[in-house]
C-alpha cells in the first residue's frame, strides 16, 4: 500500500502478533472480553489508541488507529468494536468537559465505559436522578455511560443491567440498563451527530477487517477443500467471485489509507461488507454455518454493523455532501 510506511507495517505486525499470542477469538465470543483482556489491551496502548498521552493514551494518528481497528477486527470484530467505542465515541464525548480526566482510567483499562449509539428511542425521565431504560446497549458492564438526549450526558454506575443474548459482536456484553442514577450534563448540545459522522473512517476500518477476515478464510478454504474431485479453487464461479471480493478488499484498503473522502469510503465499505461475509459462509458450505469455523461471526457482525450504522440518514449525509447542499426530500 503506497500510503503506508515502514512504521505502519510494523504496527500492523505488532497487532497481528498480539492477537495470535494473547487472544482466543472463539473464547472471546463465548465468554466475552474480560478484565484480563482489558488490561492486556491497555498495557499495549490499544485501549487508549487516540487518547492523549496526558491521560496515558497512545495519541496515535488516524492511519495508525485504523490499522489497529482493521487488524483487531479481522481477528475479533468484538475487540475492534470495544476500542472503537472508547476512542471514536467516548473520547470525543468527554473531551473538553470536566470529565475528560476519566480517560486516564479508560486508557489504563481500569474503567469500562459505554456510549449509546444505537439510535435508541428510549425515554429518559429527568429529575434529580435519571430514570428510565437504555435498551440495546453494548458494554453493559460499564462504570459509566454517555447518553445523548438533546444534550450530552454522563451517568455513573453502578447500574442495574439485564443482559441479552446478542447475535453480533458477541465479545461485548449487551443488553439494557435500568437507570436510577445521578446524571450530569457535560455538554448542553448533543455531540452525537458530529461524533457519528466523524467516525465514518473508523467504522470503515472495522468493516475492512471483517471483509479481510472473511475473504482470507474463504480463499484459504478454497485451497484445501475438495468437492466433486477437485479443489474449490478450480471452480470458476467461486474463484471469480472470491477474486472480485479480494479486489474490493484491496480497493477499500487503498481508499481508506489514502484518505479519500470518508463518505465515499464508508459507502463502499457498507455496500461490500454483507455480500462478502455472506459469500464467505457460502464458500464453506455446511461448515460455514457452524461457529467452529469462525466465519459465520463475520456475517453476523457485518449485518449488525451495516444495520446499525448505515441507513437512510447516512445516505442523506452522503447525498448532501455529493450535491453540496442540504437536500430536502418529498
Amino acid at each position: 500500500m503506497s500510503n503506508l510506511n515502514e512504521e505502519n507495517n510494523i504496527l500492523r505486525d505488532t497487532v497481528r502478533e498480539f492477537c495470535e499470542k494473547n487472544l482466543d477469538e472463539k473464547k472471546i465470543e463465548e465468554e466475552k472480553i474480560d478484565n484480563n483482556i482489558n488490561s492486556l489491551l491497555a498495557s499495549q496502548g490499544f485501549m487508549g489508541a487516540k487518547i492523549s498521552s496526558k491521560y496515558g493514551g497512545s495519541e496515535l494518528d488516524d492511519i495508525s488507529y485504523h490499522i489497529i481497528l482493521e487488524e483487531f477486527s479481522k481477528y475479533s470484530p468484538s475487540i475492534a468494536m470495544k476500542i472503537f467505542m472508547i476512542n471514536s465515541l467516548y473520547l470525543p464525548s468527554v473531551i473538553n468537559t470536566e470529565y475528560e480526566s476519566y480517560l486516564q482510567d479508560v486508557s489504563s483499562g481500569k474503567m469500562n465505559v459505554s456510549v449509546d449509539f444505537m439510535n435508541n428511542k428510549y425515554k429518559l425521565e429527568y429529575g434529580n436522578n435519571i430514570n428510565g431504560t437504555v435498551e440495546n446497549i453494548l458494554n453493559t458492564d460499564s462504570e459509566n455511560i454517555v447518553l445523548f438526549d438533546g444534550k450530552t450526558t454522563i451517568v455513573n454506575g453502578p447500574f442495574k443491567t439485564r443482559e441479552k443474548d446478542f447475535m453480533g459482536f458477541k465479545g461485548l456484553k449487551f443488553g439494557s440498563i435500568e437507570l436510577n442514577n445521578k446524571y450530569n450534563v457535560i455538554d448542553k448540545n448533543s455531540r452525537k451527530e458530529k461524533i457519528m459522522e466523524d467516525s465514518y473512517n473508523d467504522l470503515s476500518a472495522i468493516a475492512l477487517g471483517i471483509i479481510s477476515g472473511a475473504v482470507d478464510k474463504a480463499m484459504d478454504y478454497s485451497r484445501v477443500r475438495t468437492v466433486f474431485g477437485a479443489y474449490l479453487k478450480n471452480y470458476e464461479p467461486l474463484v471469480f467471485r472470491l477474486s472480485e471480493m479480494y479486489s474490493k478488499e484491496n480497493i477499500l484498503r487503498s481508499i481508506l489509507y489514502s484518505n479519500l473522502d470518508k463518505y465515499y469510503t464508508f459507502n463502499f465499505a457498507m455496500n461490500s461488507i454483507v455480500e462478502i461475509a455472506r459469500f464467505s459462509v457460502n464458500t464453506h458450505g455446511g461448515y460455514g454455518y457452524f461457529k467452529d469455523f469462525g466465519v459465520e461471526k463475520f456475517y453476523r457482525d457485518a449485518i449488525i454493523l451495516k444495520s446499525v450504522f448505515y441507513g437512510n440518514s447516512e445516505l442523506k449525509q452522503l447525498s448532501n455532501h455529493v450535491y453540496s447542499e442540504k437536500l430536502t426530500f418529498i
Binding site: 439510535n119 435508541n120 453480533g168 454483507v274 455446511g286 461457529k291 449488525i304
Partner: protein, 359 residues
C-alpha cells in the same frame, strides 16, 4: 394456485401463531433444543398427509413464516419418507405409518464430511457378508441425526468404475450397536432443529434393511432430492414472507413514508411474489407426477436467495431495531436456505444442464 387449500393454510397459520410464540421460538433457538412436544402437537393437523403434498408445502411455508427453527423442526421428522414410499418394500412402506403417526422420527443420512453436495463420492460402506451388510463410516450435518429412531442411509455396497454406481440405501435403526450420534451445536440459525455427526462402527444390517435394489441408491437419492427441494423452496419462501411481515409491521408502526423505503418494500415484495409463483408452479408439476427438475431447482435457488435477501433487508430497514431477537433470528435462519439440499451453486448447474439439453 393452491387456493383450494386456503382454509388449511389458515388453520396451519393459527396453529403456528398460537404455538410458536416469540418466547418459545427464542427459548429453543437459544438452547439449541429440539421441541419434540411441538412435533407431537402438530400431528393432529395432518401436516404429513403424504397423499397430499400440497398440504405439506403449505404447512412448511406458513410455519417457517412464523419461525423457521420451529417450523422446520415440526415438518422434518418425516425427512426421507419419500425414499421408502417410492422404492421401499411393503414392510418398509408399512413402517412409514409409524412415522406419520409420530411414533418414530425419521431422518436421512447422505452427506459426509468430505463431500458436501457431492453425493456420488461418499465413503460409507455397507459390505455384504453372507446375508448381512456391515455398515462402516460416518455422516455429517444430518438433520434429526441425534433424535431419529430410523435413518435412510446411503452407503457404498460395491466399487464401480463410475462412482455413482455401487451405492445403496438402507433403513437403519439407530438403536443398533455401533451407531453413534454426536449432536452438533453452534449453528448460526435454525437452532431448534437437530443436527448431528454420525458414526457407523460395524453395524450389522440385514438384507431386509435394504431399500429397493442394491446399486440403485444414487438414483433413489437424486429422485428424492428432486422432490424434497420443493419443500426447501417453501422454507425459503416462508422465511422471506416472515421477514417481510417484520418490515411491514415496523414501517406501519413507525409511519415511515420515505420514498427509499417504499422502493425497498416494492423490491422485496416483487421478489417474494416471484418466489411464490416459481415455487407453486414447480410444485404443481411435481405433484401431478410430471416433475420438471429445472423448475424445481430454479424455485429452490431463487427462494434461498430471496430468504437471505429479504432477511437482510429486514435488518437494514429496521436498523438498530433489528437487534430485537425476533428479527435477527429470521436473519440467522435464512442463510441455510442457500446451502442445504444442494447449494445454490449445484442448483445452477442442474438448471443450465437441463436447458442446454433442450428441456
Amino acid at each position: 394456485m393452491f387456493e383450494e387449500y386456503d382454509d388449511y393454510r389458515k388453520q396451519i397459520r393459527e396453529f403456528g401463531l398460537k404455538e410458536f410464540t416469540d418466547e418459545v421460538a427464542a427459548k429453543y433457538d437459544r438452547g439449541e433444543e429440539y421441541p419434540d412436544y411441538l412435533r407431537k402437537k402438530s400431528l393432529s393437523l395432518g401436516i404429513v398427509d403424504m397423499q397430499n403434498p400440497a398440504k405439506i408445502l403449505i404447512a412448511i411455508e406458513e410455519l417457517c413464516r412464523i419461525d423457521a427453527g420451529l417450523g422446520i423442526s415440526v415438518t422434518t421428522p418425516y425427512f426421507g419418507a419419500e425414499v421408502l414410499m417410492l422404492f421401499g418394500n411393503d414392510k418398509q412402506k408399512e413402517f412409514l405409518n409409524d412415522v406419520y403417526s409420530g411414533k418414530y422420527v425419521l431422518g436421512l443420512g447422505v452427506t459426509e464430511a468430505s463431500g458436501g453436495s457431492d453425493v456420488a463420492h461418499i465413503k460409507t460402506t455397507a459390505t455384504k457378508k453372507g446375508d448381512k451388510y456391515i455398515l462402516n463410516g460416518s455422516k455429517m450435518f444430518i438433520t434429526n441425526g441425534a433424535i431419529a429412531d430410523y435413518l435412510v442411509v446411503l452407503a457404498r455396497t460395491s466399487d464401480e468404475d463410475k462412482p455413482h454406481h455401487g451405492l445403496s440405501t438402507f433403513l437403519l435403526n439407530t438403536k443398533l450397536n455401533g451407531f453413534k450420534a454426536n449432536k452438533l451445536t453452534g449453528k448460526l440459525g435454525v437452532r431448534a432443529t437437530n443436527t448431528a455427526e454420525l458414526t457407523f462402527d460395524n453395524i450389522e444390517l440385514s438384507s431386509e434393511d435394504l431399500i429397493g435394489e442394491e446399486g440403485k441408491g444414487f438414483y433413489y437419492i437424486m429422485t428424492f432430492f428432486n422432490i424434497s427441494r420443493i419443500y426447501v423452496a417453501a422454507q425459503g419462501l416462508g422465511i422471506a414472507e416472515g421477514a417481510f411481515d417484520k418490515i411491514l409491521e415496523y414501517v406501519k408502526a413507525n409511519e415511515i413514508k420515505d420514498e427509499n423505503t417504499m422502493f425497498e418494500i416494492a423490491d422485496v415484495a416483487t421478489r417474494i411474489e416471484a418466489t411464490k409463483e416459481l415455487t407453486y408452479n414447480a410444485a404443481s408439476y411435481l405433484f401431478k407426477f410430471e416433475p420438471r427438475p429445472q423448475l424445481t431447482s430454479m424455485a429452490k435457488a431463487y427462494a434461498g436467495e430471496t430468504a437471505v435477501y429479504a432477511s437482510e433487508k429486514a435488518m437494514e430497514i429496521l436498523g438498530a431495531n433489528s437487534l430485537e431477537e425476533n428479527v435477527e433470528r429470521i436473519f440467522r435462519n435464512a442463510k441455510i436456505m442457500e446451502i442445504w439440499e444442494g447449494t445454490s451453486e449445484v442448483e445452477k448447474l442442474v438448471i443450465s444442464r437441463f436447458i442446454l439439453k433442450g428441456e
